[in-house]
Each structure stands twice: as structure tokens, then as C-alpha cells.
């Protein structure tokens, strides 16, 4: 601030002319009038002013801005009021009296009273600028003659209050100690209040309490010891698994895995240790263990013919063997198929399942009633279950169901296997008076199941009972060649009771009963013999696919080794050649597929009679020789299990049998008892990610990712899109790919419906435009220029139309997008997603389906092979199948029958390239193939960079908006923001097939560098129409060559299409 003595004389003179006393020019006013032209107050300053005024009472005004001008103009007549105004301003401008310039004085003002005069003078000083400005209006300023003490004091009081309020109330979000200047800060201030200046301690204390409250309100009320006490822990665990079901191995997994909540379960995603390559090696050379207990089992119980009749409506022989296949029906093999909505094939797919028939008990049970287990993925269960009920005409739950739910929820596990806390501590607490009348039960099975909801439905007309066995069994999957030795070492077949005993006294009465029956004993011995033979077979792939072997084993915890050691196959076991040969050729006979696990009552009793871990350890500690084998005698549990061989890669030519293994089905409650022994024999554990890798290397579609035509797949795609979009939005636009420039229309989802539709329209428009019979198509095809022209035209058209569309859509569409994109919507998607999905599927279901007819797929597979001199196999195969040649004529009926279909293909990169999710599969142009022919190292063509019209448009709009804002003064900020995410294609997509220089054929759903093949490999879907079109146009020795381009790259890479069947 400068004193008025430096005032330029011109200004002073002017002031004098206007009749304003120089004394009125306070330093502030002066500075103001010199610094910035006060009339054009900038926006920022206005905001600042508003901020300053926030905590002020309404009757108080600060001495800045033009507000004062008006005030003065209005209140100008009332001297009294005016003086108040000045007083107030004075108090805020806060210029101390001694700063009053000496060179100025009050020459003309008649001073009646000393006090008011002084204050007035000060007021004038603060108000100088306004006064000066007021001079323009031609009104000379008058000084009030008197003031009233009471009003004056009131006003002061209000000011003081406002000031106090402003001081005490902190406006920022920071904590108290953070507002301190740096030199006053001390170490550990946030922890120790006493390090703060005393005046701030109180506030800091409050803050500290508040945050502590926010952080942990639970559990701190108890000390850690109390929290970890078994009973409380159990309560806590039970509470936590109310929402999402825990598998029995949950705790084990939670300590070692990244857990995710998926499909209503808590599942291990992948191990926390680095294990990508190690898990692959385990699958290939050793053994990988997975807990698949989250898979759902549905049981159908009824007459064989009735079940078959009902289920025949849901599947088709076209897609492969059905429920009625002889070897599956007998119960000796597991089958797998794809279910459709009743009578809707090939549309409205429900999902893939595996199934086992219970082998017909030749012994005592009535041979009429059969049991069938369907194993489904949890995402598919609900759809399949409702459809099953519909097909079997089941409506009301049977009478028995009323009692069965009790089995599930009312703790039927009344006895031994529950970890009742009966140690002394608990008793002590009871004596303390705590209520522990009903001991807490460990939840075994499904903790979320509603006890009153029926889970079994019967049909009066067909007599079929459909029951839901979710979480009633454990399913473990062992993958890899060492799974045989792990199984044979970990499991020991149960010993048979030879002496006849009273069934009542022994806990395992069912086994005593079974041992009395010579038939079942002989079956047991045969099973035992086969099981022993397993150890002599090097790989599960040597068995017939889907072999089922039932077993009854002893408690695997008894012969747990002291140390973890890898189980290796022993040479001695491999000597028994003739039997092994028989086993490999024939598989396990039907009798041996029988297992007591089919009997619910036995399972229940087995679950109940499990010796708890604690008891077992107690007995171990009481052994005479520490560390020796525990012999439980008759108390040892006998557990019925079922072993099911899982064929690995059966299709294709290389890596046959890769990833084969065994599934083990156990009754519930026994999960950990089998889990640990497997791990102690050297099995490595994998999670969901490893399962995905397994299915990818096998070339099998994974559930529900790769079933875009089933409801679960649609839902999955939606969720995935939301997740990816959110992730994308987290990056600033400069740090993320601009997909519009890359020519990627939908980087986060695969628009299957539109792809098939576009291909269909492409074909029809071309046919119409040519107005010639189909035979002349070949001519057109041979003419490269015309085709390209056509494509170019398409492109231009589509671009035009799309622009028009986007222009139209601009106001409405983006907002919608924002809605669905927001994380809140993604979370709420579970509730609303159903409806949306329903709408969507209603639209898409009519539009596309996945081709699953084996005959057609075989035909396509043969056509995709390049016909070269070396590929003898393909030629031979085609001759053998007496196949049709690939011509227009043969393609037409296929196109007519399946106008909008997708084909599941696997792709292997020829050279470089690493395919990702949603990589685009494109048709190479003729030049590309020529270049590849010339140069063997040719990497692939490049897409030219696209322009981003939306960016420029957005910029323009923004500019316009800002102009408008300046005119109108804000308010429209919210509307400006409602623009699509920059870098993504807003609104509806144009013709996706012809958007880029290479025609789009399909998308990759799974792709990565394959450790098994040593090059990039991908799995995905292509449009059937497009595929045929491509194959027709390609030369015979280069058939099946495609280009792949990842969404965020312009580089195309060559790959070969293979259809495995």
C-alpha cells in the first residue's frame, strides 16, 4: 500500500474538482483505482468476493466491489444509515488510524462532534474508492450529522459475532494441525494432541475422536484375544457368510488367494504368490487342484423314460450326444451337452452342463426309478432350474420338502462334526452368566439358503422330482498327469468289516449294513482293485473320456504325511500290464461306477459322523509312539466319493489330452479333510484365473464368458463392459487410447447382434445391387476393384449416416450413456440389469445364435483347412467324409438356414502378435496375402489412422458454451458435461463390418500368449456369413488366414482360423 503522498497530482486535482476530500482517499481505495479498473471486475474476483462473504451476516458488507456504489446511491439520503455503512466498511478495511496520511486533512468539513467525525474520517478513508466513483454520478458525499448509539452498537455486535463465527468455524477440510504454519508443526501431531498449541487442543481432540469413530466401531470393543476366541470367531464367520456363500475351503483360500465375490460366492481369484507359469507347469506336468464346489448340482429323480422324454425337449442331437446316449445312460460315463429352452433349438440357449446318471442298482433298489445329476455353473442355474421345472411340469414342492429344508438349515449337524466349543473357557464364560444355551453351529453347505424356500419340486403328472443340491457336495478338480499318484496316495479305500457287529453300536451303521451285503462287498473290492491300478497309469488322458469310478474311502486325515512331499508314480505299480491294458481299453465297468454318495441319507450320516479335527488331534497326541500311524479301528469314517475323469483337449491335432484330470465328488462337511491331504501330496492350487487359462489352452469355451447367446453370458458381457469402461475413464484422455482414432468402435464389448446383422445386410445389398443370379457372384468376387469400391461406398455411407445419427442423438443419448456408465449403475445393475438385460436379450435373441450343429461345424472345419500338398490329413478326411466342396451353391443353404449365426473358432498367430480381449478378427485383402507370399517375415498391414470428428465437435461446442456462459453467466455447466466419453464412439455404432480398411469378421473373447503353443493364441466368434464369404474369396492354399488387430493398436497380425470339433 502506498500513502497518498505519492498520488499523482492529476488524480488529486480531479478529485478536488469533483469535490471529494483527499482525505477520503484511503490507501486501499487508491490502490484499487490504480491497480485494476474496478468497474470490469473479473469473474475470479467475483467468486473470491462471494467466498469472502460466505460467513458474513447479511447486514454486513465488505468494502469492495461495486455493491457499495448502489448502496450508497440508495441510502444516500439518509445520513444516519449512510454513516453506518461507512462505519462497517471501516471496520473491515481495517486501516489503522496512524496510517492516516499526514499530508491530507479535512479542510471544509464542519466537525460538530469529535467522535463521529473521527470515525467518519476513517470511514471515508476506507470508502474512498466508492466515494470517488460516486463522484461520477455527480452526487457529492455527505457526512451524517449524528449517529444513534444503540443501533451503532448493535451493528458492531453483529460484526463481532460474524467475525468470531468465522474464526471458530474452519472452512477447509483439513484437520486442525494441518492448518498450522509449517514452523509450528511437530512430529506425530496427529497422534499426540499435546504436541499441538494449547488453543487448538480442544478442536484436535474432537477431530481425533471423530475419525476414530469412523474407522472402527466394531470389534474394538473386544480385545483381540476375545475376538479370536473360537466361539466369537465362529459367530463372526457365520455372520460374514450370510450374504455370499463360503466354500468349505474358504478360510484356507482367504489366507492365500485374492478373494472375489462372484455369483453369490466368495471365490479365490488367483493366488497371491506369483504363479502364472508355475500353475501352467502344474497343469502340464504335475497337478493343479481346484475347488469347484460352487458348481451347482440339480437332481432329477423319476422314471427313466419320463426324464428322457422331458429332457429331450431341451436338447438336440444336432449338438452332440444327449442324455439318452447309451454309455451315459448306463451311468458309466459322464456326458456333457448344451441345454436350450424347451423346443427352441437353435435359439434361446440356456447353458452348458455336464451330467451323470446314477447306475442302475442291480442289487436291491427298484430299477425303474433313476437319478440324474446335472452340474451347472451357478450363473446358469436359475434359468436351467426354472426350465427343468417347466419341462417336468413340476409346480408345488412335495410333502417331503417340508422336512428337507430343515436338514439344510436347522442345524442337523447337531453332533460331533460341528465344532462345539466345549472347552473350559466356554464353561467359565457360562458361569459368568453369558447366554450360551444353544451352541453355535458351523455352517456347512449353503449359508444363504432360505429355510422356508423349497428346494425340491415334484410333478404329479410325470412323477419326476427336481431337487436343487447346491452346496450339498464338494467338487474338487485335479488337473495334470500326477493327479493319479496324488489320488492313490491320499485316499485309501475303506476297510470292510468282516465280523458281524451290531449296527447300532458302531457310528457308521450304513457301512456295516453294506458290508453285510456280499454284492456290495464284491463291488467294493473291484472298485478297490481298479483304484489301485490308477497309480500305474501315467496320465488321466489314457482313460476313456468321462469315466466314472465310485469309491468308499477311509478318513484321509489318518494317513496324512508329516511333511508335504510330492507324490510320484512308482514303477512297481506299472508292472501289471494286462489289467492296465484292459482298463485303458474298456474303462471302468458299470458296476464300479456305483457309489453310496447317491444316497442322501448316507451322505447325511457321513457328514454328521465326522470326527472333528480337534478330536483327531487329541487322539494323535495320546498315541503311544508320537508320530506313528493313528488307528481308529471301527470309529474311522467311511466316506463315499465319486471320481469322474475329465477329458482334456480332445479336439484338434496337437496337445491331445492336455489338461485332463479327475473330479472328486465328496459329501459336504468333508471338504477340508480331503483338501489338505491333496495339498500334502504336492498339488498346487489354482483359482478362477487358472480355470480360465485351463479352458483357454484346452480350446474350450469358458462359462459364462464365452456363451454370448445365453442370459448369463449377456449379463457377463454387460458387467465386463461396465468394468472396462470405468477403468478406461479413470485415465485422463491423454493417457488412454483414443479408440475413435484407432477405428475401434466397441473396445469393451462385442456387438454380436450388430455384427451378424451387418453381415446379413451386406450380403443382401450386394445381391440386390448386382441383380444377377448367384452364379455370377464368383465373377464379381474375382474382380477386386469392384468389391473395394463397394466397400468404400459402404464406408462413406455409414459414416454419413452415423454422423447424422450422432447429431440427432447428441442431446438425449450421451446422458443415458452417462447413467449406465456410472459406477452406481453398475452396482445397481444386479437389480435393474435383469430388466435391461431382458429387453436386450429380447432384441438379440431373435437376431443371433451360436452355431452348434456338429455336422455343419465339421464341414466348416474341413473348409477352413488350407488345401495344400502337405496337408494330407485334411484331404483324406474330406474324402472320408464324402464332403461337399466349398462352392457358392453349397454355401447358400447354410446361409439360408443360419442367417445370423456365430461360429466358435480358435486362432493361432502365424508369427508375431499377442491377441487380447476383444481383438478384432478381420478379413485380409488380396494384397496382404500377396505380400505374405512374397515375404515370409511380413508382419502384417497397418490400419491408417482414423480422424476423430467428435473431438473437434466437442471442442467447438465447448467454445460455444463458454461464450454463452460469458453472456448468460454460468448455469449451464451441467449440460456441457453431458457429453460421451472422449475417445469412445458416442451413440449408436455405424456399420461395424466396413468401418476399417479390412472387413470385420468377429471378435476374440479370450486371447493371450500361449505357454503351451509358444505363440499367441486366441479363441473367439466369427460371423458364419462372413466366414463363408471369406473362405470363398480366398485361394485354396491360403484358406483360413485372417488378420487380428487389438483394440488399441493399428497393426494387423496374421492368424489362422481353426475350427475344432
Amino acid at each position: 500500500m502506498r500513502s497518498p503522498s505519492y498520488l499523482p497530482c492529476t488524480l488529486l486535482g480531479r478529485r478536488r474538482l469533483e469535490g471529494v476530500e483527499p482525505a477520503a482517499l484511503g490507501p486501499e481505495g487508491l490502490w484499487l483505482c490504480r491497480g485494476t479498473p474496478a468497474l470490469e471486475m473479473s469473474n475470479a474476483r467475483e467468486k473470491k468476493h462471494a467466498k469472502k462473504m460466505r460467513n458474513q451476516p447479511t447486514n454486513v458488507t465488505l468494502s469492495s466491489g461495486f455493491g457499495a456504489v448502489d448502496e450508497r446511491g440508495v441510502k444516500h439520503h439518509n445520513g444516519n444509515e449512510k454513516s453506518f455503512q461507512y462505519q462497517k466498511q471501516e471496520s473491515h478495511s481495517g486501516a489503522p488510524q496512524h496510517q492516516q496520511p499526514k499530508s491530507t486533512h479535512v479542510p471544509s468539513e464542519p466537525c460538530m462532534n469529535e467522535q463521529p467525525c473521527k470515525s467518519q474520517c476513517r470511514g471515508e478513508k476506507g470508502k474512498g474508492q466508492a466515494g470517488w466513483r460516486g463522484g461520477h454520478q455527480g452526487a457529492a458525499r455527505e457526512i451524517p450529522k449524528y449517529i444513534t448509539a444503540s443501533t451503532f452498537a448493535q451493528a458492531r455486535a453483529a460484526e463481532v459475532n460474524a467475525m468470531l463465527k468465522a474464526v471458530t468455524q474452519k472452512s477447509s477440510n483439513s484437520l486442525v494441525f494441518q492448518t498450522l504454519p509449517r514452523h509450528m508443526r511437530r512430529r506425530a501431531m496427529s497422534h499426540n494432541v499435546k504436541r499441538l498449541p494449547r488453543r487448538l487442543r480442544e478442536i484436535a481432540q474432537k477431530e481425533a475422536e471423530k475419525t476414530e469413530h469412523q474407522k472402527k466401531e466394531h470389534s474394538k470393543n473386544k480385545c483381540r484375544k476375545a475376538r479370536r476366541c473360537h466361539l466369537n470367531l465362529l459367530l463372526e464367520f457365520n455372520r460374514r457368510q450370510k450374504k455370499n456363500v463360503w466354500l468349505e475351503t474358504h478360510i484356507w483360500h482367504a489366507k492365500r488367494f485374492h478373494m472375489v465375490k462372484k455369483w453369490g460366492y466368495c471365490l479365490g481369484e488367483s493366488p497371491t504368490v506369483k504363479s502364472y507359469r508355475a500353475s501352467y507347469r502344474a497343469m502340464t506336468k504335475h497337478c493343479l487342484l481346484q475347488d469347484l464346489s460352487y458348481y451347482c448340482c440339480l437332481e432329477l429323480n423319476g422314471k427313466e423314460e419320463e426324464i428322457l422324454k422331458a429332457l429331450a425337449r431341451m436338447c438336440s442331437i444336432d449338438t452332440g450326444l444327449t442324455f439318452a446316449a447309451v454309455h451315459c445312460l448306463s451311468g458309466k460315463r459322464q456326458g456333457s451337452l448344451v441345454l436350450y429352452r424347451a423346443d427352441k433349438y437353435p435359439e434361446e440357449m440356456l447353458g452348458p452342463i455336464t451330467f451323470i446318471w446314477k447306475p442302475e442298482g442291480g442289487t436291491s433298489t427298484t430299477p425303474v426309478n433313476r437319478k440324474l445329476w446335472l452340474w451347472t455353473h451357478p450363473t446358469l442355474k436359475q434359468d436351467i432350474l426354472t426350465e427343468l421345472k417347466l419341462v417336468c411340469q413340476c409346480v408345488q414342492p412335495p410333502e417331503a420338502a417340508a422336512s428337507i429344508p430343515e436338514v439344510v438349515l436347522t442345524p442337523h449337524e447337531e453332533k460331533s462334526h460341528i465344532k462345539q466349543t466345549e472347552n473350559c473357557k466356554k464353561r467359565k464364560r457360562e458361569s459368568d452368566g453369558e447366554k450360551n444355551t444353544n451352541p453355535v453351529k458351523k455352517i456347512v453347505g449353503d449359508g444363504t439358503r432360505n429355510p422356508f424356500q423349497p428346494y425340491s419340486w415334484t410333478s404329479s403328472t410325470t412323477g419326476i422330482v427336481v431337487s436343487d443340491f447346491t452346496m450339498e457336495m464338494n467338487r474338487y478338480r485335479l488337473i495334470g498327469p500326477l493327479s493319479h499318484s496324488i489320488l492313490t496316495e491320499a485316499l485309501k479305500t475303506a476297510s470292510v468289516y468282516t465280523e458281524v457287529e451290531d449296527a447300532e453300536t458302531v457310528p457308521h451303521s450304513w457301512w456295516v449294513e453294506a458290508c453285510k451285503n456280499p454284492d456290495s462287498v464284491s463291488v467294493h473290492h473291484r472298485q478297490e482293485a481298479f483304484f489301485e491300478l490308477l497309480g500305474g497309469i501315467a496320465s488321466p488322458a489314457e482313460f476313456p473320456a468321462g469315466t466314472v469310478l465310485g469309491l468308499t474311502v477311509g478318513d484321509p486325515r489318518v494317513n496324512l504325511p508329516q511333511k508335504k512331499a510330492k507324490a510320484l508314480p512308482s514303477l512297481e505299480k506299472c508292472q501289471d500290464n494286462e489289467k492296465v491294458r484292459q482298463l485303458r481299453l474298456e474303462g471302468v465297468p458299470v458296476e464300479c461306477a456305483h457309489s453310496f454318495i447317491w444316497n442322501q441319507d448316507i451322505c447325511k450320516s457321513v457328514t454328521e459322523n465326522k470326527i472333528s479335527e480337534k478330536e483327531l488331534n487329541q487322539m494323535r497326541s495320546e498315541l503311544m509312539v508320537p508320530g506313528s500311524q493313528l488307528n481308529l479301528g471301527h470309529r474311522e469314517s467311511k466316506i463315499p466319493i465319486l471320481l469322474i475323469q475329465q477329458p482334456g483337449k480332445v479336439t484338434g491335432e496337437d496337445r491331445l489330452g492336455w489338461g485332463s484330470g479327475w473330479d472328486v465328488l465328496l459329501p459336504k462337511g468333508w471338504g477340508m479333510a480331503f483338501w489338505i491331504p491333496f495339498i500334502y501330496r504336492g498339488a498346487r492350487v489354482g483359482g478362477l484365473k487358472e480355470a480360465l487359462i485351463h479352458s483357454r489352452y484346452k480350446g474350450a469355451p469358458s462359462i459364462p464368458d464365452d456363451f454370448p447367446d445365453c442370459p448369463a453370458g449377456i449379463l457377463f458381457a454387460r458387467e465386463q463392459e461396465n468394468n472396462l469402461l470405468e477403468k478406461y475413464k479413470r485415465h485422463p484422455p491423454a493417457k488412454r487410447p483414443n479408440y475413435v482414432k484407432h477405428g475401434t468402435l466397441s473396445p469393451f464389448r462385442c456387438p454380436w447382434g450388430q455384427l451378424t446383422r451387418d453381415w446379413e445386410s451386406r450380403i443382401t445389398t450386394r445381391a440386390e445391387s448386382l441383380v444377377s443370379p448367384s452364379c455370377s457372384w464368383a465373377n464379381v468376387k474375382s474382380d477386386p476393384g469392384r468389391e473395394d469400391l463397394c466397400v468404400v461406398e459402404d464406408e462413406q455411407e455409414s459414416k454419413l449416416s452415423c454422423e447424422a445419427e450422432t447429431l440427432k442423438d447428441k442431446p438425449g443419448e450421451p446422458e443415458e450413456m452417462m447413467d449406465t456408465d456410472s459406477p452406481g449403475a453398475a452396482v445397481a445393475g444386479d437389480t435393474t440389469g435383469e430388466g435391461v438385460c431382458g429387453n436386450d436379450s429380447g432384441g438379440t435373441k431373435g437376431t443371433f445364435c451360436v452355431l452348434r450343429s456338429r455336422k455343419l461345424l465339421k464341414l466348416l472345419a474341413a473348409w477352413c483347412h488350407p488345401v495344400a500338398r502337405r496337408n494330407r490329413v485334411a484331404i483324406q478326411a474330406s474324402r472320408m467324409y464324402q464332403q461337399q466342396e466349398l462352392t457358392r451353391a453349397t454355401c447358400l443353404p447354410i446361409l439360408r438356414d443360419y442367417p445370423r449365426s456365430l461360429v466358435w473358432v480358435s486362432l493361432s498367430l502365424l508369427k508375431k502378435g499377442n491377441p487380447e480381449l476383444h481383438t478384432m478378427i478381420c478379413i485380409p485383402s488380396k494384397d496382404d496375402i500377396l505380400l505374405l507370399n512374397e515375404d515370409r517375415l511380413y508382419g502384417g498391414p497397418q490400419e491408417s489412422r482414423h480422424s476423430d470428428p467428435f473431438k473437434a465437435k466437442a471442442r467447438k461446442q465447448k467454445e460455444k458454451k463458454t461464450e454463452k456462459e460469458q453472456k448468460q453467466g454460468g448455469q449451464h455447466c451441467a449440460i456441457v458435461c453431458a457429453e460421451g466419453t472422449p475417445g469412445l464412439w458416442p451413440g449408436s455404432l455405424p456399420d461395424i463390418t466396413g468401418h476399417c480398411s479390412r472387413t470385420l469378421l468377429g471378435f476374440v473373447t479370450q486371447g493371450d500368449f500361449s505357454l503351451a503353443a509358444g505363440c499367441g493364441e486366441a479363441l473367439g466368434f466369427v460371423s458364419l456369413t462372413g466366414l463363408l464369404e471369406m473362405l470363398l474369396s480366398q485361394p485354396a492354399d491360403k484358406r483360413g488366414l485372417v488378420l487380428l488387430r487389438t483394440p488399441a493398436s493399428l497393426q494387423y497380425r496374421f492368424a489362422r482360423i481353426i475350427i475344432d470339433i
Binding site: T284, I317, L321, T322, A324, A325, V326, H327, R333, I537, A538, S539, A541, E542, P544, A545, L568, P569, S570, L571, C574, V580, R581, R584, L585, E586, V650, D654, R655, L656, G657, W658, R854, V873, Q876, M880, Y881, I1061
Partner: protein, 142 residues
């Protein structure tokens, strides 16, 4: 893990391909010792040769100093040639320190015929293929 490059048998014409799909199973084999090498036609020849040399010389680091005194090279079907080739190369490059001893055998291969119709049982067929097992061992110079 297709260690075999076996060719197709000649007698395929008897079965109707419309009714059955042919699936080849893995050949039966004994548990693998560390000094067993199964030769295939897919891996690069040089790589397989290098693997054998590494085993014999023990240069791999993890296997101790001397390496294996003997290794077994197995070849099945089409890979017999290559197995022999590898063994001879090893012997030639060793300046007489290595000797080879070959054994031949017949391996039974199982083909599974998966039915295409519900009424048929799956069938298995066996066919034979020749295999060679070459023992490459170190001889101590006298």
C-alpha cells in the same frame, strides 16, 4: 504333450464317419525319470539335441557336476528317425566318449471312436506303432 508323430493307420475305411468321430488317445508310457527324453516332431531339432547334451554334461547347474551317466532317448513312429539322428549326433560330437545302444519295441495305441448317435456304444480300436529307445551312455576310456 504329443510325443508321437505317428501316421494314420491304413484301415480306417471300415467305419462310417458319419456315425463315429475318431479321437486319438495318448500312448501309454511309464513314469518319466529325469534322464528320459521323449523326442517329438514339433520341437526344433536343435533344441532337443541341446537338451540331451545338457543332460549328459550336467551343465544345467541344478543337476550336480557330472550330469547323467546315461540317458534314454525315446522315439515313436515318425519320430524314430529323429531319435536316431539325435543319438548319432551326440555320439559324433563326443569324440568317442559316448556310446549308443538301441532297443526297439512296439507300442499299442488306442483310438477312441465316439458315436454320433445316441444308440451306439463308444468303441476303441488298437493299433500298433514302432518305437525306439536309445540308451546313450558314457564309456570310460581305458
Amino acid at each position: 504333450m504329443a510325443e508321437n508323430g505317428e501316421t494314420w493307420g491304413a484301415s480306417e475305411a471300415e467305419l462310417d464317419p458319419v456315425e463315429y468321430t475318431l479321437r486319438k488317445r495318448l500312448p501309454h508310457r511309464l513314469p518319466r525319470r529325469p534322464n528320459d527324453i521323449y523326442v517329438n516332431m514339433k520341437t526344433d531339432f536343435k533344441a532337443q539335441l541341446a537338451r540331451c547334451q545338457k543332460l549328459l554334461e550336467g551343465g544345467g547347474g541344478g543337476r550336480g557336476q557330472g550330469g547323467c551317466p546315461e540317458i534314454y532317448i525315446h522315439g515313436l513312429g515318425l519320430a524314430i528317425n529323429r531319435a536316431i539322428n539325435i543319438a548319432l549326433q551326440l555320439q559324433a560330437s563326443s569324440f568317442g566318449a559316448l556310446q549308443v545302444a538301441a532297443n526297439t519295441s512296439t507300442v499299442e495305441l488306442v483310438d477312441e471312436l465316439e458315436p454320433e448317435t445316441n444308440t451306439r456304444e463308444p468303441l476303441t480300436r488298437t493299433r500298433n506303432n514302432s518305437a525306439i529307445h536309445i540308451r546313450v551312455f558314457r564309456v570310460t576310456p581305458k
